[in-house]
Symmetry: C2
């Protein structure tokens, strides 16, 4: 009985977080019926969880429409979390300078367990804005940040990827495990990675690792642009600026290069 | 039985949110035993909730110390919430300009239900930094933002405050209901409020309302400074700049003055 209550309790937390994330992901306010359908549960159950989340300020209900959106308490939580993500403050100046120097979009992602999650985009200066939504979980095999993570994060490796982790996302995606291993070894040796139209046709990226104490991999900084601005023959000046920004952020996090 | 599971489920969500908020409020990483003591429950129960929150990325556990801090998913949630808080984007430029013009700290708070919560501080330019922590819930009777909320928010009023809502926080706090009503009426007439050392000795604030469609009260913008910079005889230039900034944010939210 105790275990049932227990697992029920945790299931309840799971559902509350599912509700929060559905509301966060909705482009507009969302109603209880839609949530129940999306989450495959009853309106009554969703409603009780909504009520708790509204009471605590994580959601707010529009009195005109009775629909839900995120509340101030969610914002407050995220604000507190930002203070705790050292990477954000350690890299802020370096990323802004990089964006200003090259005029291209700069994307910051952080390793959380075995997930690589985008936490910040500094939009470039062209009229065509290219960003990656905060909260996006990056696949590892088909983009520059992912290859950097595979090369530098001790808890990740190409051998740990299942066959399902290597889908062909575009015609340029590397789906051959041996070829990916070869590329990751190269990334480790040269200190940066490129992915030219491997995740999205027309879009390229180069990325470098941000390391902390004991060369621990913390996250990746990437330049993301159209193939017009990041070409298959990557401009050495772009690589130089990128690596400099990544090293600057790494130093702020306690990384000290070589003996 | 169903109701028990139900209320247990919601209780479980309450505890999960309590855990999140304790971790968010801790100045350093926090351990399971401390959390259990703070929340008056068992380590086992706290542990199960921590585990769920870590699995979902809202908390992260330091592998060296086994202690907890906020995780990237909390940040991601807050980022999404910021997009939904129209007040933040509608007022950003006006607040920055106000800070630049006067050099004083500018604090933005938003009304959520019946709570007035600080969501942003633009620090002034003096060496002595005065800010109000994001997430702080403001008392209504003893500060300028609170008096503005009492004057302009339809769901709030001096008559709804209980005796316990009128504590004497400093020697200057207004604790007399009739005097507070008089002041709130004056605030409504003049469009701004002052609180000189009413919440903290040495600190003064003036505030103005940010209104939306149909003059709905959305939040308050305040200048917060030492009594050296905001004096009992409030500088009309400060009031003018404050009201201008508040009106600019209000216009961005759809407020249209007059008939």
């Amino acid at each position: 009985m105790k275990e049932e209550t227990t697992s029920g309790g945790v299931r309840s937390v799971q559902l509350a977080l599912d509700v929060l994330e559905r509301v966060a992901g909705a482009s507009e306010e969302i109603g209880v019926s839609e949530l129940a359908v999306q989450l495959g549960t009853t309106k009554g159950s969703v409603f009780r969880h909504l009520k708790t989340l509204v009471e605590r300020g994580y959601l707010s209900q529009n009195p005109q429409t009775s629909r839900y959106r995120l509340g101030v308490q969610s914002y407050v939580l995220g604000h507190a979390a930002a203070d705790g993500i050292d990477l954000l403050s350690a890299s802020a100046d370096a990323l802004r300078d990089l964006r200003d120097e090259l005029g291209l979009s700069v994307v910051l992602s952080v390793l959380q367990g075995r997930r690589l999650v985008v936490v910040d985009t500094q939009l470039g200066k062209s009229a065509l804005e290219i960003g990656v939504r905060t909260g996006t979980e990056l696949q590892l095999h088909c983009n520059a940040q992912g290859k950097v993570a595979l090369a530098f994060a001790r808890q990740l490796g190409v051998d740990q990827l299942g066959a399902a982790d290597l889908p062909a996302v575009t015609v340029n995606t590397v789906t051959d495990r041996q070829e990916l291993k070869r590329q990751v070894a190269e990334v480790r040796a040269q200190g940066w990675a490129a992915a030219i139209e491997e995740e999205t046709l027309g879009i390229s990226a180069i990325a470098a690792p941000i390391l902390g104490l004991n060369a621990e991999f913390i996250g990746a900084v990437a330049l993301v642009a159209t193939v017009q601005n990041i070409t298959r023959q990557v401009d050495p000046a772009q690589v130089h600026a990128l690596k400099k920004a990544a090293l600057r952020a790494s130093w702020n996090l306690g990384y000290r290069d070589g003996p």
